[in-house]
Symmetry: C2
DNA sequence: AGAAATTTGTTCGTATGTATA
DNA sequence: TTATACATACGAACAAATTTC
């Protein structure tokens, strides 16, 4: 806790952030709810409208709220964007390589597999099986891309750990935004090469049959295959 | 890419963010450098000072810059805070439990171990060994806490994956900020119980001797021990 | 050491485009 | 269509902290 009441005075824009966060925590504001107008908030908190706007901009940037011109500010609670933003900032600012990114993604999937064999719901097992079928029988490159994506995402979600899920989703977005050609090349190779298909089969079998060994082996081969596509 | 040139016009505050990010990427701005004054930026970008401030506030909130009253805005590039903020938001807003947090932390450490046995530098191996010694011979609870922390952090850093490092650091901060009593209870038990000491020994042996099996076994027992302390 | 200039922090007033009834 | 509420954006002013001379 950095700012106790003891301390002199909080910055005006921080007041807005704390207030909104508090209202959400106390259950007075739920996703979809509309916030009071900027002028009203300013009066309530005893600060200027500009300060209210600074605070709301930050909340918007953090994914807590979203503003609609002429209408108002609404609670959204979608943290995928700020996570993606932060990770992509690290990626671009620190000049990190694609390999580290893929490596971390492999890490998260491997851990998701550990958890998925224990916690995957029946519905998730059915889902990942359907995505596999759709992936194998896909005709267009776009379809393959979509179902490959959905398959991996289902694995992650089967871990039932929200931190892992959010982090992975952000990582995926970063890859899509900054390395557009990357995934395309891999998917393209799927048509002719059956190796990637097999890895997906093993991966799914691991989840469906709660067979950690098979699942991990599938993942290992999967990323081994991906690593070929350096540049 | 969301905002192509096709689209009408970017919001003024977004202009500031893009500009600063571009300057950093092009090498014109490095950590520690001072940004132009708010008025000057406003004139350069053809927007008002208020809009400049909104953009700068967001950059500050993202960890790209930091402002000093009366002095100016400086490049900082410290992403630990925004990552911690984002993860703690997920924690508080989604009402997640402590178990998921600990579980994810275990996941990251396990993956760090996988990488550390391959990539740990000689210096890091020496470091983690020293932290172990200091931990085992520590007298006060505070010392035990510090060295336990440093030991685990060294393991993470030995993975040499910045995404993993940043994510783990954020997670640790969340735990410290929101679950203050948690770690204390565990550390307290170390004095009388030698089990935790042994897990740390195995963990360090794994890293130093590049012995994945031993390292993972140490980690497994370590978190198995921690899981006992559910309230 | 002290005064002046510079810079961020904060507020108020005003004009404009947008959504909704 | 009109009227109202609202977010968006700008400009000017003063306060507070820092730097500079």
């Amino acid at each position: 806790m950095k700012n106790s009441q003891e301390n002199v005075k909080e910055k005006p824009y921080q007041l807005v952030i704390d207030h909104v966060r508090g209202e959400i925590l106390h259950g007075n504001l739920k996703p979809g709810d509309r916030l009071p107008g900027e002028r009203e908030l300013a009066e309530q908190l005893g600060i200027s409208r500009n300060s209210v706007r600074e605070g709301l901009r930050i909340l918007e940037n953090m994914g807590v709220t979203s503003s609609q011109h002429g209408a108002g500010h609404y609670i959204s609670l979608n943290f995928d964007e700020p996570m993606t933003e932060t990770l992509s900032l690290i990626y671009t600012m620190k000049g990190m390589g694609r390999d580290d990114l893929t490596q971390f993604r492999y890490c998260l999937e491997r851990e998701a597999m550990h958890l998925a064999v224990d916690y995957a719901s029946e519905q998730q097992k059915i889902m990942i099986g359907k995505h596999l079928e759709a992936l194998l029988s896909a005709e267009t490159e776009k379809d393959r891309y979509e179902h490959d994506m959905a398959l991996h995402m289902t694995l992650i979600e089967a871990s039932r750990n929200d931190y892992l899920i959010t982090t992975y989703r952000a990582l995926t977005n970063v890859i899509e935004d900054y390395i557009p050609v990357f995934r395309g090349k891999i998917i393209e190779g799927m048509k002719s090469n059956h190796k990637l298909e097999d890895t997906h089969r093993m991966l799914v079998m691991g989840v469906v049959n709660s067979d950690l060994r098979t699942g991990l082996e599938g993942l290992s081969r999967h990323f081994e295959y991906i690593r070929q596509f350096k540049d």
